[in-house]
């Protein structure tokens, strides 16, 4: 019973204290700059940056000759850009409350469709790209219809969809790699500008646009409200069905873009290329959601997390670690990220005690809610 009350009341820890009656309400002031700066730089807010520094130091000492070269970092930036692009696309549906497990196969579909159009149908490059986008958007519409029209739980709907898409990919490609995409198409992902490949700039452009919409516009606010509580959002006049449609289409188009970049990079349409993007993308979004915005999925947190994870993976690879290290690393990062999010949400007696201990004798600073009056 005590355990329950603990759980149920942890959220309300702040309101328990409340403000004394005689204090005029408008006396409240934002916390002083020093406190805010300390909060902004706290491990809790930007843990990924601290992890990055740690990884950097470890690998710089361990394998300085390979890790500390411009070439390594240049290829890291380029190679990770597509994974990161997938993660950016995934942020949107997750913010709207749709956990899109089909994201990996959506990438795979984009990769195979563009290859098939170019190699088998001899479509022109712009037409092939446009049709691939249409295809990605169509997948988004289907997922939306399954969730809002057929009222299937998003988790199940996208899980089922991912299997269907795998079948479609195998059908289009005959489970064979599609070759001969043409040299022109390959330049899209391999050409360089200021030493970095095009996908890095594409990622940056997409991330900026999605960030602007999510954080700076009423539309983005509606996406987060829908993800937070669809019922309350609906009662505030938000057409949650439209918001979900917008988010699944955005995700479909961005993952199709990522897919066609993969095909361009490999100069091959590979039917097995999509699924491996699932886990890194989820790890980046969830780890990213613990950054900056206190538990809310967000673009820059995701981009940061994707690159930090990539640095870890790259470092282990350069150090000659076995081939299963990336999987282990990404899996642990996902678990750690979600675990940390729980830690942030419900401070239990134990974590509260630890925090008290850590604060020690020095005058306690107000930490998140509990004491902030």
């Amino acid at each position: 019973m005590i355990e329950q009350i603990r759980h149920a009341t942890a959220d309300e820890a702040a309101s328990a204290a409340g403000a004394p009656d005689d204090r005029p309400p408008h006396e409240w002031q934002p916390a002083p700059l020093a406190v805010r700066a300390r909060q902004a730089l706290s491990f809790q807010n930007i843990s990924a940056i601290y992890i990055f520094v740690l990884l950097f130091v470890v690998f710089a000492l361990w394998i300085p000759s390979t890790f500390l070269t411009w070439g390594t970092w240049r290829s890291l930036l380029s190679d990770t850009s597509i994974t990161c692009l997938v993660a950016v696309g995934l942020v949107v549906p997750i913010a709207a409350g749709v956990v899109d497990l089909a994201i990996g196969t959506e990438v795979g579909l984009g990769a195979i469709v563009v290859a098939w159009l170019l190699a088998d149908r001899h479509a022109s490059i712009p037409l092939a790209i446009a049709l691939t986008f249409v295809c990605g958007a169509a997948v988004g519409v289907i997922i939306w219809a399954l969730i809002t029209r057929a009222r299937i739980n998003a988790f199940i709907a996208t899980l089922g969809m991912s299997s269907v898409l795998l079948a479609v990919i195998a059908w289009i490609s005959g489970s064979q790699q599609i070759l001969n995409l043409g040299a022109g198409f390959q330049t899209l992902a391999t050409n360089q500008l200021f030493g970095l490949t095009y996908p890095v700039y594409i990622l940056l452009a997409v991330a900026v646009v999605v960030w602007y919409v999510l954080e700076k516009t009423p539309a983005g606010r509606r996406v987060y409200a829908t993800g937070g509580n669809p019922e309350a959002a609906g009662l505030a006049g938000i057409r949650t069905s439209h918001v979900i449609l917008l988010s699944t289409i955005t995700c479909g188009v961005i993952s199709a873009l990522a897919g066609l970049l993969v095909s361009s990079q490999l100069a091959t349409g590979d039917p097995t290329i999509g699924t491996p993007y699932l886990l890194p993308a989820f790890a980046a979004v969830f780890l990213g959601s613990t950054q900056f915005r206190g538990g809310r999925p967000n673009i820059w947190g995701t981009v940061l997390a994707a690159y930090v994870l990539a640095v870890g993976v790259k470092g282990f690879q350069l150090a000659g670690a076995p081939i299963w290290i990336p999987d282990l690393f990404n899996g642990l990062a996902l678990l750690l990220a979600v675990g940390m999010a729980q830690f942030q949400k419900t401070p239990t007696a134990r974590t509260a005690a630890i925090r008290r201990l850590l604060r020690g004798a020095r005058q306690p600073i107000s930490d998140r809610g509990e004491n902030q009056v």
Binding site: M1, I2, Q4, I5, R6, A8, T9, A10, D11, E12, A13, A14, S15, A16, A17, G18, A19, P20, D21, D22, P25, H26, W28, V213, K216, T217, P218, A219, G220, R221, R222, Y224, A225, G228, N229, E231, A232, A233, G234, L235, A236, G237, I238, R239, G295, A349, A353, Q363, P364, S366, G369, E370, N371, Q372, V373
Partner: protein
């Protein structure tokens, strides 16, 4: 009375809790005797939840605190041993919705390795039935919890807490168990609580429903600003005195000023849907219209139907001379309608978002700038103004709603609609789960909206609220309009009788007390 001893069971003294910059609890003591029901009342922020959390061991009290339990043999238990004699029932009860009563009762029990053996179904069922029968309840113990009424669930939670008590020397702490209850169910729960007390246990009951407290408790402990301001037998206090004690000043009844109502802003004819069958009503600008009725009369569905949250089956709703299509909430808001639902946490607000985001959610157009940008500066300024207007505590616009008290959450929900300057404001149980202080603010805001020319519709089970606020009240019975009471013939007693269909001349009113008003149709 079978109470074996009447000595002090729980004795807590010197309980203090200091948060940086705030003394949440200041040298509070609490004694509970065997068989006694002690009510703890207070504002949000008065320290009552802090008190519960110290007793439960969630918070560590400041040094000098002492919590003791005297067990049946006269031995004094402290620390962990004392804590094992304290049982808590929180508002959410901690039951698993998808399991049935038998399974829920079994969850907490120690089985050891035997938990792998098949459960003995028949014996378990009989045991469960016996357990709940001790509290005067009878229901299907094999039905999933989600199908039980709130009172039945609460009784089950009590039964589970008491299962395995080896003596009367235990204390049951109920923390706001009745927030989501209808009044008839409150009675059933109280019956069960009285039985627990009779068996010799001590009860600590925490609530902000003052009528309840007076009906149940032997002793009332009132907290204000972390201190005890009264500790008196319940018989020596009345409703107004308690309000005065916990608010620290007498809260004036809402001053009702007659105001000439304007043109009709909302006209409804032949409305059907849910339990409502063929309802007509008309609401005018600057009018407060109350809707009353027992549970199941359609009162709790009306505002949702008008707003479009529940799809109506027939009838027309005309908002400022424009017909509203069914189920289109965006159009209703565009047309100047606002809706404060009864279930705040689930429907009223996005509680993981902060005050600012919730406030501007229904109406962001005036904050839109070029390229669809949301003007953060203007938004913050506007939020700051509204937190002042509604007296939000703490007035921190960036605080997630989750971390605000019920009353302050409701202020935000109300503010977000007042900000849209609605023509019609629909309120469903506007003061449910709200403390006395916030309630006064909410009433002021409602009256303020009326003065600004808004037509207000209040659906409420609290007759006192309807009588003090409304210009006229519609009484519903079984989905139809039973009668309409104008302001000058409005009284609590009259309302209660009309709700029950007793009319005005059917003998003496036997149900004056608000607590028992729904018992007769149950």
């Amino acid at each position: 009375m079978s109470a074996p001893s009447t000595g002090t069971l729980l004795s807590a003294s010197g309980l203090s809790k200091t948060f940086p910059g705030l003394k949440a609890l200041d040298n509070v003591g609490l004694q509970v005797s065997s068989g006694e029901i002690v009510a703890v009342v207070g504002h949000n922020g008065s320290g009552k939840s802090t008190l519960v959390k110290i007793l439960a061991g969630v918070y560590e009290p400041d040094p000098g605190a002492q919590v003791e339990i005297r067990d049946a043999s006269g031995q004094v238990l402290q620390g962990q041993a004392a804590r094992s004699r304290l049982h808590f029932i929180h508002q959410d009860l901690g039951l698993v919705e998808t399991l049935n009563a038998v399974e829920n009762l079994g969850i907490g029990r120690e089985h050891g390795w035997r938990s792998l053996l098949p459960a003995r179904a028949a014996a378990e069922r009989r045991r469960a039935e016996q357990l709940i029968a001790r509290f005067g309840a009878r229901f299907d113990v094999l039905a999933p919890i989600s199908r039980l009424s709130p009172a039945e669930r609460a009784i089950l939670a009590i039964a589970r807490a008491l299962d395995g008590w080896d003596g009367p020397d235990n204390v049951l702490v109920l923390d706001e168990p009745t927030t989501a209850f209808r009044e008839s169910e409150v009675k059933r729960l109280f019956e069960a609580i009285r039985r627990v007390a009779k068996s010799g246990a001590g009860i600590v009951f925490i609530s902000h429903r003052l009528d309840e407290v007076l009906g149940l408790a032997d002793r009332v402990v009132a907290l204000r600003d972390g201190r005890i301001v009264a500790d008196e037998p319940a018989g020596q206090l009345n409703h107004d005195q308690i309000v005065e004690l916990i608010a620290g000043h007498a809260i004036a009844e809402v001053e009702h000023s007659a105001q000439t109502a304007g043109d009709p802003v909302l006209e409804v004819s032949g409305l059907r849907g849910g339990t409502i069958r063929d309802l007509d009503l008309s609401l005018r600008a600057g009018e407060i219209l109350g809707v009353s009725g027992v549970l199941g009369s359609g009162r709790e569905e009306l505002s949702g139907l008008l707003f479009g949250a529940i799809r109506r089956d027939g009838g027309t709703v005309t908002l400022s001379r424009r017909p509203l299509s069914p189920g289109d909430m965006s159009a209703a808001i565009e047309g100047g309608m606002g809706f404060v639902p009864a279930d705040r946490r689930r429907m009223g607000a996005v509680i993981d978002m902060n005050v600012r985001e919730n406030l501007t959610l229904p109406f962001m157009r005036p904050l839109r700038r070029r390229f669809g940008r949301l003007d953060g500066h203007a938004e913050r300024a506007e939020t700051h103004r509204w937190t002042r207007t509604v007296g939000l505590r703490p007035p921190d616009p960036e605080r997630p709603l989750r971390l605000l008290s019920g009353g302050n959450q409701q202020k935000v929900v109300l503010a977000k609609w007042l900000r849209t300057e609605p023509r019609v404001l629909l309120l469903d149980e506007p003061s449910q789960g709200v403390d006395v202080g916030a309630k006064a603010t909410i009433y002021e805001l409602i009256v303020g909206a009326r003065e600004a020319g808004t037509g207000v519709l209040i659906c409420s089970s609290e007759t006192k609220e309807l009588v003090s606020l409304c210009d006229r009240v519609l009484v519903l019975q079984q989905g139809r309009l039973a009668c309409e009471l104008p302001r000058d013939s409005l009284s609590e007693e009259r309302l209660v009788r009309e709700e029950l269909g007793l009319g005005i001349n059917n003998g003496r009113p036997s149900v004056g007390q608000a607590n028992s008003k729904e018992s007769e149709i149950d």
